[in-house]
Structures are given as C-alpha cells and as structure tokens.
C-alpha cells in the first residue's frame, strides 16, 4: 500500500487501505504501522540446511586429511624438510623455472605471429597457420619431445642452403639436439599452437568498431594493434594464458623422460638411491604449489591492470586476498564459501 496513489474508485473498494474514504488524487497514502503489522515485521532469510550439511561433511573430511598429513609418520616430514633446500633440488628448480620462462616467452612470440597469419587476408598464410595449429594440437607433447630428441634417426644431417640446390652449412643432428634443446623446441612449438588460438580468440573478441575508429583517426596498422586492439584483447587473453603458464610449469616435468634434470627428475634421482619416494615427491609438490601460488598473485595484478576503464569490472572488484584464497590450494575456497552460507 505504499505504491503510487490509487485512483479513487479502486482505493475506496480496497479493504486494507489506510487512505481516507474519498482521497484527493494527489494524496499519498500514509503507512500506518498499527493498522498493518507487515510493515514492521522482522525479515527472516531463507534457510539452506543442505548447504550446512554438505559444508559440515566436507569440513570433517578436510580435518581428517589435515590430521592424517600431520600424524602419519610415513609421510616423513623430517625427510621433506631435509631435502627441501638441498642443492640438487634447487638446481632442478632453477631448470624448471628458466625452461618454463623461455618456453612461454618464445612460444607466445611465435603464437602472436601464427595468430596474425590466421587473421590475415592471405589464404596461403591462413591455411598454413590452420595446418600448424591442427598438427601440433593433435600430437601429444611427449611424442613431440621424443621426436626432436630422436631427430637424428630421421635426419642424420641438417643443411642450410638453396632449396633443392647447393648446401652451405651442414650439421650432424646427433650433436645438435641435447635433451634440454629438444625439450625447449618441442614445448615451445606446443605453446605456440595453443597460445595462437588464445590470442586469436582475444583479438576477435574486440569490437571491430574500435579499429575502425582508430583507422578513421589516421592511426597506422601497427599502432592500432598495439595501442587499441591488443590492450582490449588482454582481458580475454590473460586468464587462459595464466592457466597455460601454470600448466606449462608442471608440464615441463615430462622432460624427465629424456633425462633432463628438472625439479621432478632431480627428486626422482634422489629417491632412486634412497627409496624415500613419498617424502621426495612431496618436496617437488610443495615447490610446485609455492610457484603456482606466486603465479596466481601475478595473474591477479595483471588482470586488475587490464580491467582499468571497466569501472570496477569483474577482475577489478575481486579483492587481492580473495583471489589469493581462491587460488591457494585446498583450504582457500572453504572460507570464502563459508562466508556465503547463512
């Protein structure tokens, strides 16, 4: 009854109306608490017993997990602590870090080129780009890694020269591809194919009116891409790229099959000697968790930077600690979810 004034005919017939019998059309009905107790009634939010029960069950399970991690002596946390900062583990960590960085940087540089080819007007470039992405995405990274490592069995020698003509330089492939180089090449080509698709999707998500407006102002093609299109494509590119970076950090561990001593392979070398398999795997795992957490924090700030102008857009509104909690493994999400329960 607090809505706009009703026409006299309707309000006269309305039994609960607190308005005078013959109201003037402009008079607003005065709310009368005594006459209408609903106006002062306490509001009770909806109950969600199912959510409480499921939360309780999950919390008990989580507590059991923590309990067993702490009390099961066969995890041998002492051993974990002893090897956590040992020289060979740190060496492996170093290789994992720079291999990931090099693969991601080179892969993305290549990926931008492949995405540009795919979006070009030249049908040959478009076709080549499509074929590359199709082929690389179809081949398991492990197979690719072994392919480059065993390239010598297919091509014992590689030469630089005129196509189908004279050769100037010739190298023996067996000496060319060490394990690390094979890993770098194989993973870079893999990242290039996937990142090309991520970048292409990001660019296509930008309204074509943006580059039209920029062209109409007389901006050159490179400037339009760098200043107008790419920054607007970034919000679509970054989350997927963050995923890929974190995935690649762990995917570098497949280099252990070609005896490259990364983080995982270095702990494998140790437990092959002392058979403390679980504690040493935990050493590697904890390092991966730490690195992933750091990368998530970096991703948060990058997303926030590119969300500017979005007026408290999705990424901008999420608080820092919320993102960290959301990305911190296992326990992080629980507190945020509990806050949502009532």
């Amino acid at each position: 009854m607090t809505g706009p004034p009703l026409p006299p005919a309707t309000s006269a017939t309305s039994a609960t109306s607190a308005t005078p019998a013959v109201p003037s059309p402009s008079a607003t009905p005065q709310p009368d608490a005594a006459a209408d107790p609903l106006l002062t009634a306490r509001r009770v939010p909806a109950r969600h017993p199912g959510q409480w029960v499921s939360a309780a069950v999950l919390l008990v399970l989580a507590a059991m997990l923590v309990h067993t991690l702490l009390t099961n002596s066969r995890f041998q946390w002492g051993v974990v602590g002893r090897y956590f900062l040992s020289a060979s583990v740190l060496h492996g960590l170093e290789l994992t870090l720079w291999l990931t960085a090099a693969v991601m940087v080179c892969g993305y540089v290549l990926g931008v080129g492949i995405a540009a080819m795919r979006l070009s007007a030249n049908p040959v470039l478009r076709g080549l780009s499509f074929g590359y992405v199709w082929l690389i995405r179809s081949v398991p990274p492990l197979v690719q890694l072994l392919f480059w490592y065993e390239l010598a069995s297919l091509y014992p020698e590689l030469s630089l020269g005129v196509p189908f003509g004279r050769e100037f330089v010739t190298v023996r492939t067996a000496h060319l591809f060490s394990g690390v180089l094979a890993a770098f090449v194989g993973l870079t080509l893999d990242v290039a194919a996937f990142s090309a698709e991520i970048i292409r999707g990001g660019i296509l998500s930008v309204d074509p009116g943006q580059s039209e407006a920029a062209q109409a102002l007389g901006l050159g093609r490179v400037r339009v891409f760098r200043r107008i299109v790419l920054p607007q494509a970034m919000p679509a590119i970054i989350p997927a790229s963050g995923n890929m970076l974190i995935g690649m950090l762990k995917a570098t561990s497949i280099v252990s099959v070609i005896a490259v001593q990364d983080l995982l392979y270095s702990v494998q070398l140790i437990y092959n000697q002392n058979y403390l398999i679980m504690p040493l795997l935990l050493v590697a795992t904890i390092w991966y968790v730490v690195l992933t957490t750091l990368l998530s924090i970096g991703q948060y700030y990058t997303e926030r930077y590119y969300a500017r102008g979005n007026d408290g857009g999705r990424a901008g509104r999420r608080g820092f600690w919320r993102t960290v909690r959301g990305n911190a493994p296992l326990f992080g999400q629980v507190r945020t979810d509990l806050a949502g329960l009532s």
Partner: protein, 257 residues
C-alpha cells in the same frame, strides 16, 4: 563561408556491392567547403556505406571519392586507379574526422588519452601541447574537467561529445557523422545536436547521416535523399523537406515528421 568553384568533396559514379547485393548505384554528390550536407533515407538505402566510402572504411567497386583534389584510397596513373599503400591511406584519413553511431571511444583510455592519441601518434604533437588542445576541445563540447574520466563513466551524450572532440583534435577539413544520435536516449540527443550546430556555424564542412529532420532543417545547406542506393532528391532543406517531388521521399518524410 566561402563557396569556392571546386567542391571540397566530389563523389562520382560511386557503386558498391556486398556479395550479390548492390548497395550503391553510381552516386554523384558534391559538398562545398564550409557547407553542411545531410543524407536522409530509409534504412538500407546506402547512406552509411556512402559515408564510409568517403574515408575508405569501405572500398568502392566503381567510381571514386575525391576530397580536396585527391582521390581517396587510390592514385590515378596511366588511366588506372592504383590502390594506395596503407601509410598513404593513413595520411588521407587523418584529414577527415568521423563520428560513429556507437561512439567507438577507446574504453581502456581516459577521455584525455582518447583525444590525444591520434594527434601525438600521427601528427607528432608533443604530449603536453596535445593535452592543452584536448582540454580546449572538451571545453568547447561542454565537458571541461572530464579529461580523467573513462568513457564508461560518461552518459551516451557525453561520450558522443568526447568522440566529436576526438575527431576535431586532428583538425580535419571535413567531418563525417554516421547517425551520431541514433544510439542515444531521447533526452540526450539535444546536447549532441547543439555541438554539431555549433560546429556548422563555425564553418566546418560536414557530411551527416541522420534521422533528425529538425537538424537538417536548421543546420543543413543541402539535403540529399537516398533510396535503394540512388540519389532521388537533392537541394536546400526548405525545398527537399517541404515539397519533395519524388514519391519515395514524400512517403519517408510523411512517416518521420
């Protein structure tokens, strides 16, 4: 307003098809320096395509657009029209301002950066000087002090006025308006039209696609009526708007008035 012998814009025999659909059929049109020409016509009549051919956002299939004595997008040599390299096309576009229906402001840049981007990048203006000029232009379109806002914080009418200031920052000889008020709430249309009338009074050469008959009546020197890709009526607004000869123009005007 000086009317020179040679019009600033000369459009001759302009034709354009999208797939099998021919949008423009040999359009001829002149715009004299300092004059305002309003293009009227039902949707799909080719008004926007015609406008977009003027700064070569669309490439015509036949005919040509000449602005200030230069063929847009092409260089005539040996009886042929050679397509311009991107850099030369960029130079031509820099002298023609364009305002879009959807504003197309750059959402990740502040109002100031939206306006200074092209003068700094294309004209090589020092940043400080470009910023001073941008503030003058904002003042002119009635948005003094809003230089640090992002486009999303502005109303539609304010965004369109920023877009006009952005185009003016390149000191164009010709301004193109592609339905500048069609995406606006009715109560915001007036503020954009006021800025456009102000520009027209200052002697800016303007080619305007709009459905605002009132603007055409007040500010236009010439009204051109397009139907199905052909100019069916053209002349001073008093003439075309009150006593149209062509049936199609008469039907359109009686529907929108």
């Amino acid at each position: 307003m000086t009317a020179t012998d040679r019009p600033l814009v000369r459009i001759r025999g302009l034709s354009k098809s999208f797939g099998t659909h021919q949008v423009l059929h040999g359009v001829d049109l002149d715009v004299r320096e300092g004059e305002v020409t309003v293009l009227l016509g039902p949707s799909g009549s080719g008004k926007s395509t015609l406008l977009r051919c003027v700064n070569h956002l669309e490439s015509p299939d036949a005919g040509y657009v000449e602005v200030d004595g230069r063929i847009i997008g092409h260089r005539p040599r040996g009886g042929r029209l050679h397509a311009l390299r991107p850099r030369a096309l960029t130079r031509q576009r820099a002298g023609i301002g364009m305002v879009f229906q959807q504003f197309n402001l750059f959402p990740h840049l502040t109002v100031l950066d939206n306006i200074t981007e092209a003068p700094v990048a294309v004209r090589g203006l020092p940043r400080r000087q470009a910023a001073d000029r941008a503030r003058e232009l904002l003042d002119r379109v009635g948005l003094a002090g809003r230089q640090d806002s992002y486009p999303r914080q502005l109303s539609g009418g304010q965004r369109q006025r920023v877009a006009i200031a952005r185009a003016l920052a390149m000191e164009p000889r010709l301004m193109l308006f592609d339905e500048p008020t069609s995406a606006l709430d009715p109560e915001l249309v007036g503020e954009v039209l006021a800025v456009m009338k102000d520009l027209a009074a200052d002697g800016m050469t303007m080619l305007v696609v709009t459905h605002e008959i009132g603007f055409a009546r007040e500010a236009a020197d010439t009204v051109v009526f397009l139907d199905a890709g052909r100019v069916v009526e053209s002349g001073p607004p008093a003439h075309v708007l009150t006593t149209p000869r062509h049936d199609r123009a008469r039907a359109f005007l009686s529907a929108v008035l």
